[in-house]
């Protein structure tokens, strides 16, 4: 049984979202033209999350992809909260004061972020008060600390990541009188999420990455061809520096047990992540929290299980690696994607497919008969084939969708094969995860007129 092309499209397009930076006076003065994003689930429910927002009190735009594991609770919480932590970290002292005063006197709060959300990207209503209180504590501390220095984006990103992970950990330790919330904060803390976040402000692009999602810059060379520049390093066993770092942080006696089968303590693929308190808390703390926690937690074998060779926690950090890049005119777009994409596609192909999609050039030379002997039938066949080749381009209005179509449907010749696409998308839930991972993609298009 096969899916028809419209059925395939409706699956592929279910989560697609596009945002165009509004123009003023017919001109877009921002360095970002807009972005396309999309997700294709393999897990049910999907464990990936995505976020995008414009900072309203400072300049710049935030975009991020979050790959959850052991459930989606942590990725969900990070996708809701992280950008607030970053935005607050970037705010000047006066603005922080203003916000605090507004909260104190019950006045309306200055909006900090303008979210660009797909209807499926939800925020938890129940936890908003709890999350807000943690955030407020954070900015109160920032006010007290008032360093007087202008905020450095790199530092702000690092602080925000670390602080949020810390808050997640604390909230789980403290618990909540509301049993639903209590269970929620525990699920958040015991599950995990990687994060790859971009902050674009004018020509300054910062990528903060924790884990194995990836940021890649699409560059158009002078001859019109496309190349890829990595703007993040994967935090996993393939990254020697990460393995080195781990070894440095733990006693030599653990050298052998730290990374087994390319996994942290033989268990976890990413070497940095939010949540995952099982790799961060002491054994005592874990036991205490699990025992005092709700029954659901207690009955869960996974949460009770202590990783082997667990001697000197924490083994895991949420601290991101931050890369700064000054945008150049040839930098046309940025792709943020979870490992579901990078497992199936080489970055060079990603750069080419997105680049050609965005410029509408498909490297098809016009046909000229010239002096050759061509029959009407041959020409007809040739034209039909060319039409089929570009038809998938015209079906997509979203670069991320287009990329997913290729990631899932590409055959050995690098062209989308409908049959393959149909098969991959009609896999039953329990099988899907074996053939592919959740895929989440954000494609940000830069404005060459401004850069």
């Amino acid at each position: 049984f096969y899916l028809t092309p419209p059925q395939v499209n409706s699956i592929l397009k279910a989560n697609e979202y596009s945002f165009k930076v509004p123009e003023f006076d017919g001109k877009n003065v921002s360095s970002v033209l807009g972005f396309d994003s999309n997700q294709l689930p393999a897990n049910a429910p999907i464990e990936d999350r995505r976020s995008a927002a414009t900072c309203l009190q400072t300049r710049g735009m935030l975009l991020g992809v979050f790959d959850g594991h052991a459930g989606c609770a942590c990725a969900q919480a990070v996708s809701e909260r992280l950008f607030y932590y970053i935005a607050v970290s970037l705010l000047p002292h006066e603005t922080l004061l203003e916000i605090e005063n507004a909260v104190e006197s019950g006045r309306a709060l200055l909006p900090i972020l303008q979210w660009h959300k797909h209807p499926n990207d939800y925020f938890s209503k129940e936890a908003s008060k709890l999350y807000f209180n943690s955030l407020r504590t954070y900015w109160q501390e920032l006010i007290d600390l008032n360093s007087g220095e202008t905020t450095d984006v790199r530092e702000a990103l690092i602080n925000a990541f670390k602080r949020l992970d810390n808050d997640i950990s604390l909230e789980a330790q403290v618990g909540d009188p509301n049993s639903f919330l209590n269970y929620l904060v525990l699920r958040v803390a015991f599950s995990g999420a990687t994060a790859c976040v971009a902050h674009v402000d004018g020509v300054d692009l910062h990528i903060a990455n924790t884990g194995d999602s990836r940021a890649m810059l699409g560059v158009q060379e002078e001859d019109g061809s496309w190349s890829a520049v990595n703007l993040s390093y994967d935090h996993n066993a393939q990254n020697e520096h990460e393995v080195e770092r781990l070894k440095m942080e733990h006693p030599k006696s653990e050298e052998k047990s730290l990374v087994k089968q390319d996994r942290l303590l033989g268990l976890l693929m990413p070497f940095r992540a939010f949540g995952d308190v099982k790799f961060k808390w002491s054994i005592e703390l874990q036991k205490r929290v699990v025992e005092s926690g709700p029954d659901q937690l207690n009955d869960n074998e996974y949460t009770k299980f202590i990783p082997p060779n667990y001697h000197t926690p924490p083994y895991l950090t949420a601290e991101p690696e931050v890369i700064h890049h000054r945008l150049r005119p040839q930098d046309k777009f940025l792709v943020l994607a979870t490992d579901g994409l990078w497992e199936t596609m080489h970055r060079q192909d990603v750069a080419r497919i997105v680049g050609e999609y965005l410029t509408g050039v498909h490297h098809q030379q016009p046909i000229a008969v010239g002096g050759y002997k061509v029959t009407l039938g041959q020409m007809h066949g040739l034209l039909t084939e060319r039409r089929a080749r570009i038809s998938s381009v015209f079906e997509d209005q979203n670069a991320a969708t287009h990329l997913i179509r290729h990631a899932v449907g590409n055959n050995e010749f690098g062209t989308v094969d409908h049959e393959r696409l149909s098969k991959m998308l009609s896999l039953p839930e329990e099988l899907a995860r074996m053939y592919r991972d959740d895929i989440t993609i954000i494609v940000v298009q830069f404005n060459s007129h401004v850069i």
Partner: protein, 882 residues
């Protein structure tokens, strides 16, 4: 001139000796810069200068010379027949839906047939015939309609089965066909050679032809052409003819006094192939497959095939552009869908080897009809351009009509559908043209059903009530850029979407319009008629009256406040315009005429009114919103709103008075409705429009008022036997021929235009008569509906064509209006048509090949309509319903 001719001839001989010259070499586009000595210097003056050496320019020159004008110079910027003409597919096809186009094509065919013999120039004329294929029943209906009109013109034509089609052309794949039309006399020509042959003949008759000479602009003084500036000097002339093809728009705009020629170029592709292994016979008919959007003709043993794609590529929007000219290359991806259609129609061609894909720009016009005639602003400036890819088919006939127009003052046929003056400056925007031609080019192949409207270039001119009416369910059509309501879709009722409402049968709005008509008959309806052309003519003394008395056939010296229906006639007594004129004061008149008269009527008046600063004519079309209140209760609504008695004693019919309506004062109220129904038209200064409309609608509620549209109006006026100018009336129709003698005052005490011709008709009788036909055995639900242009048969013999038709909701029958002639049985000569001749015939109307019995009437059922209650009288008039 003799030297010129010799050069021309040698040129042709060289070309003829080289069999491969045509279309195969890289196109050398227009602007040639090679410095070649010009053997003949330009004359300092000439009577006529023609710009353009393509098929239209040479045809005009040929016919002018034939008609005896000798002092003619034809200028061509490159080489003769080197533009679109050279790349033309060379198909002469008479299968045209518009009657005047059909006549032009028929004439062209006859002209080209004898041209080789006349000039000695080989034209490649081959009578191959053509087969138009129908993939659907609707297409077959439209072919049947064309076949009917070809047959009555004496052009052989038959509807054939798919099997017969394949016998005529063995390569046709017929599995998806429902039928076809065969026109055996259609022909093929080598288009460039036809043009050269016409030039040769013209040259022999004294026309000077100069190649490599560009016209930079035309000079106009005091509204008359005085000369032409070229890159080789100036030529003084009285007449200029713009035959510049796709450059005609630019040339029209190059002078100080712009001449608006609304056309725009699109790329057009066709394919040339090498011969088949067994070369195709040169007598094989041309195949047109409109549903596949393609045509296929034989060409040098192979084929020439092109089409009209759905997504045309317009070009030269910003004028002549070297970059675009260089980019005129083959675009196979663009041609792909057409190639599929070609191979689907003739799968046997798969192995045929490609020679070239030719990209040949063609110019298109906003309504798919060519543009000819004299500029409304510059006298002596004539135009013939915008051939919509049928330059060869129309070229001969169009050149003849234009030459007649220049020499005699008017062509021998009614060419209003092609007249430059049907357009104004408002169709001259490049954006409008670009968008419109992208719709027009695909329409070349689309099914032409009754009442289709253009979708592009809309909402240009609108009434101030547009949004209000739109919100109430108005469906719109466009006339001269003005949005007019067709009908109102009641809330909750869904009509079929546009694509599905295309039909030759009963349309989906039938009941909706029926309800509007009923309301007009029984209560009161409002129709926004703001699009009508409105002029005010006034003077300090009696100049206005005196001038108008000369220009109009009715007596305008009526008491102030009277409205007069009158024709604006030409010397032959024919209708140049049909107006209602209100005498506002002793010295001022308010004139209402059809919407598309805005340019033509203005030019007519300007050219004929005395040049007197005390006499002013103003176009006030834009100043007034017109609301037509139709129905027996209109009088109640108005009298309540104005606190003035509106009954017949106080406000007789054909009366005009300024009064207040609601709060608004100065509303010009006229007791006419253009339908024969009781009611009033309100001419409202636009700023009061919304107020008056609201007042009327509020007050009208208790009288059952509702909005109505033009379809209701049309049904009402046709069942009342009201002729409309532009549909029924034209410059070749006199008041005597349409029962309007009462609108002519031959004894009004002063001379008027057309008087002599009318006097003669009054004495000798008329040669055609406007007649009303009621279809007898026609089933409204099941049968094809009449439209216009249907042949009328009297006692089995063709006597004329219908000009308009509508369903009469009162008679519950279709009514067709049309002209009956009396052709002599033996000679075909036109004889006098008498009332007896009309009354003593048995009539049939031919709708797409099917004949329906019709009852002819010369007078409307006046008593039938005014009051429904007088049903007893209905029977007395003799009209019995079975």
């Amino acid at each position: 001139a003799a030297g010129m001719f010799l050069r021309l001839l040698s040129d042709i001989q060289w070309r003829a000796a080289n069999p491969k010259w045509r279309g195969v070499a890289t196109p050398r586009r227009g602007t040639s810069t090679t410095a070649e000595p010009h053997p003949v210097s330009l004359p300092a003056q000439a009577q006529v200068v023609i710009c353009g050496g393509g098929i239209t320019g040479t045809s005009v020159a040929y016919h002018l010379a034939k008609m005896g004008w000798k002092d003619i110079v034809l200028l061509e910027q490159g080489r003769l027949a080197a533009g679109t003409t050279r790349f033309c597919a060379g198909i002469v096809s008479t299968a045209r839906p518009v009657s005047i186009e059909l006549k032009m094509a028929h004439y062209s065919n006859k002209l080209y047939q004898q041209l080789e013999q006349e000039t000695g120039v080989p034209t490649g004329y081959t009578k191959t015939g053509s087969i138009s294929l129908a993939q659907t029943q609707d297409r077959l209906i439209s072919l049947r309609r064309i076949a009917s009109s070809l047959n009555v013109m004496g052009i052989p034509c038959e509807i054939i089965t798919p099997k017969q089609a394949v016998q005529l052309h063995p390569l046709i794949n017929i599995h998806d066909l429902v039928g076809a039309m065969y026109v055996p006399e259609d022909a093929l020509v080598t288009s460039a050679n036809v043009s050269l042959a016409l030039a040769t003949a013209a040259s022999r008759n004294g026309v000077q032809i100069h190649e490599r000479t560009s016209v930079s602009h035309v000079t106009v003084q005091k509204g008359r052409v005085t000369g032409v500036e070229t890159d080789r000097g100036r030529i003084q002339c009285q007449y200029f003819v713009n035959c510049a093809g796709q450059w005609a728009y630019e040339l029209g705009h190059s002078g100080e006094e712009p001449v608006h020629i609304p056309l725009h170029a699109c790329e057009h592709f066709y394919l040339l192939t090498h011969p088949l292994t067994e070369p195709l016979s040169s007598s094989l008919p041309t195949v047109v497959d409109p549903d596949g959007r393609i045509y296929i003709r034989n060409w040098q043993g192979g084929i020439l095939s092109g089409g009209f794609e759905k997504n045309p590529k317009p070009l030269f929007t910003e004028g002549r552009n070297q970059l675009e000219i260089q980019n005129l290359q083959e675009d196979w991806d663009h041609f792909g869908p057409l190639l599929s259609a070609i191979l689907r129609r003739m799968p046997g061609l798969e192995a045929l080897q490609i020679m070239q894909l030719v990209n040949c720009p063609e110019s298109f016009t906003p309504d798919m009809r060519c543009i000819m005639g004299e500029s409304p602003t510059a006298r002596g400036y004539f135009v013939l351009a915008g051939m919509n890819s049928a330059g060869i088919s129309y070229g001969g006939g169009a050149g003849k009509y234009l030459a007649e127009w220049m020499v005699n003052g008017y062509p021998s046929e009614n060419v209003w559908p092609l007249d430059l003056k049907r357009f104004g400056i408002l169709q001259s925007s490049r954006t409008f043209l670009r968008h419109r031609v992208m719709e027009v080019m695909p329409l070349m192949c689309d099914l032409k059903v009754p009442r289709w409207d253009f979708q592009t270039g809309r909402q240009l001119r609108t009434s101030p009530l547009y949004d209000r009416l739109d919100a109430q369910g108005a469906r719109w059509m466009e006339k001269h850029g003005f949005e007019r309501v067709k009908y109102f879709v009641p809330p909750g009722k869904d009509l079929l979407d546009l694509g599905h409402s295309k039909t030759f049968y009963k349309p989906d709005w039938f009941d909706i319009v029926g309800a509007e008509v009923k309301c007009c008959k029984e209560a009161v309806c409002v129709i926004d008629m703001s699009s009508f052309t409105k002029f005010e003519i006034s003077s300090t003394g009696d100049q206005a009256l005196e001038s108008l008395q000369y220009l109009f056939s009715n007596d305008l010296d009526v008491p102030v406040g009277h409205v007069v229906h009158t024709g604006m006639l030409n010397e032959k007594g024919g209708y140049e315009n049909d107006c209602s004129i209100a005498r506002l004061s002793k010295r001022s008149f308010f004139m209402i005429s059809p919407t598309d008269q805005q340019v033509h009527c203005w030019a007519w008046l300007k050219n004929r009114l005395p040049d007197d600063s005390n006499l002013t004519v103003e176009d006030v079309t834009w100043k007034y919103t017109a609301l037509n209140l139709i129905g027996p209760r209109a009088v109640d609504v108005l009298s309540e709103l104005s606190y003035a008695p509106m009954t017949a004693e106080h406000f007789p019919s054909l009366f005009c008075k300024e009064m207040s309506v609601g709060y608004a004062n100065g509303i010009r109220v006229m007791s006419i409705t253009h339908t024969g129904e009781p009611g009033f038209v309100l001419y409202i200064p636009i700023e009061y429009a919304l107020h008056v409309y609201n007042e009327v609608m509020n007050m009208g509620q208790k009288y059952g008022i509702r909005n109505a549209g033009y379809y209701a109006l049309r049904s009402l006026r046709i069942e009342k036997f009201f002729a409309f100018w532009g549909q029924d009336l034209d410059a070749f129709t006199t008041p005597m021929e349409c029962g309007r003698e009462f609108q002519v005052k031959l004894e009004k005490g002063m001379e008027f235009l057309g008087q002599e011709a009318l006097l003669e008709q009054k004495q000798n009788g008329v040669y055609k008569r406007f007649t009303m036909f009621i279809l007898e055995d026609h089933d409204t639900d099941m049968d094809l509906w009449p439209w216009w242009g249907e042949p009328i048969f009297r006692n089995g013999r063709y006597v004329g064509k219908t000009t308009s038709s509508a369903y009469s909701y009162t008679l519950e029958r279709h009514v067709c209006l049309g002209f009956v002639h009396n052709f002599d049985e033996k000679t075909g000569e036109e004889l006098v048509v008498t009332t007896d001749f009309i009354n003593q015939g048995e009539y049939e109307i031919d709708i797409a090949g099917q004949r329906f019995q019709a009852k002819a009437k010369l007078y409307p059922f006046s008593s039938l309509f005014t009051q429904r209650r007088r049903k007893d009288e209905v029977e007395l008039t003799g009209y019995q319903r079975e």
